[in-house]
Symmetry: C2
Subunit: 197 residues, 2 copies
DNA sequence: CGAACAAAAATGAATATCTATTCATCTTAG
DNA sequence: CTAAGATGAATAGATATTCATTTTTGTTCG
């Protein structure tokens, strides 16, 4: 078996176990069992338990960034770009439920217990949103009153909270497509009724 | 010393310690030391470590709900109500940084590791937002195309993500007032430039 | 071809540490 | 003087990490 195979086998197992039990309640031996590997083997590929989580973030968010950037570069309209981003973010729930769950629940904690770790991949991810907003403003489609630095966080936060609904609720009320569209419309047109005086 | 004094002394200490180290890394002995109480004393007031966290949620979110409802009932305009809610949510960061941090970081995890615990107080909190949206729709000010069930989560998610920025960053770029206003405007008017064709 | 060997990889039992919880004992209040 | 409240040392269980040993892999040479 190639080295990289075992590395990714362990990563995949860790995603499953972290999703099921959360980082702190997950035992190394759980991950080892899931990966069909001895406990000690994990330490040949990772320095410690935190390292598994961090390395998982870097790799998987890296892939997501790559994918969504590919989708976005084929589109010009910032409104449609926003929709693509929202849809892609939420679709992760369908395609890789465990991964979505881990990123959702554990990512937020990570900065807390690993003070030294600066999550640059995460920054790169949300900066995709601010780039879209900037583009929209330059094209005159989006209002210049809006701070892209605030809007990028607001939009990411909104999408991520919708994710949380799926992760925690067993039978969510809305479909993913419906939600992506609704959230996009909300951010594009706002709550205000255009027909009102 | 009255019983309730010791209960709340321990709760306050737990808030500080959870904020500093996170729930899992916090030791009971840390909380005991912070509360100037023996380790065993904690078990006279709480069943176990989880119970401290849950009881803290219930109590503190309860107070927040009470406060913000008081503020809201004096106002009629749903737009202004939304602003009051946003401002109040973010102001917690200034007034009770540790508490904000614990609610921000640990609340999300709680449903995960305590499967049986349904956070009804949290539901009650975000339902304040959907009530505002409903009212706005009934008054014809807000568009009927928007699902209050989705919008409440989107708005809460956006605000909470802004909180996270403050909790993690040492020197945030924006003031709380500025942020509350920006986020509200974004949700009220959307990204789209009204001057564009 | 395959036997012999060395290096690399993998194993999992043992270690070392950590900490939530208990409870026999002591202190305080009424 | 008693009962409620508080104490903190001892217990019991858990588990991340190590490392002596075993297994696998790849290479050399008769």
């Amino acid at each position: 078996m190639r080295v990289s195979d075992k590395h990714s086998k362990i990563t995949q197992a860790a995603v499953k176990v972290f999703a099921r039990k959360g980082f702190f309640n997950a035992r190394i031996s759980d991950i080892a069992k899931e990966a069909k590997v001895a406990d000690g083997t994990i330490y040949l590929y990772f320095n410690n338990k935190y390292d598994i989580l961090i390395s998982l973030f870097e790799d998987e968010i890296g892939k997501i960034i790559h994918q969504v950037k590919l989708l976005l570069e084929r589109e010009d309209d910032p409104c449609k770009k926003l929709h693509i981003f929202a849809r892609h973010h939420l679709l992760l729930l369908e395609e890789k439920k465990d991964l979505a769950e881990v990123l959702q629940m554990e990512l937020r904690q990570s900065n807390k217990f690993m003070k030294e770790y600066r999550n640059t991949k995460f920054i790169e991810y949300i900066d995709i949103i601010s780039a879209i907003i900037h583009q929209g403003q330059d094209m005159g489609i989006f209002s210049k009153n809006i701070s892209p630095g605030i809007a990028k966080r607001a939009i990411f936060g909104a999408l991520d909270e919708m994710s949380r609904l799926w992760v925690l609720a067993d039978a969510p009320h809305y479909t993913i497509e419906e939600t992506a569209t609704q959230v996009c419309n909300l951010f594009l047109h706002g709550l205000k009724n255009p027909l009102a005086h």
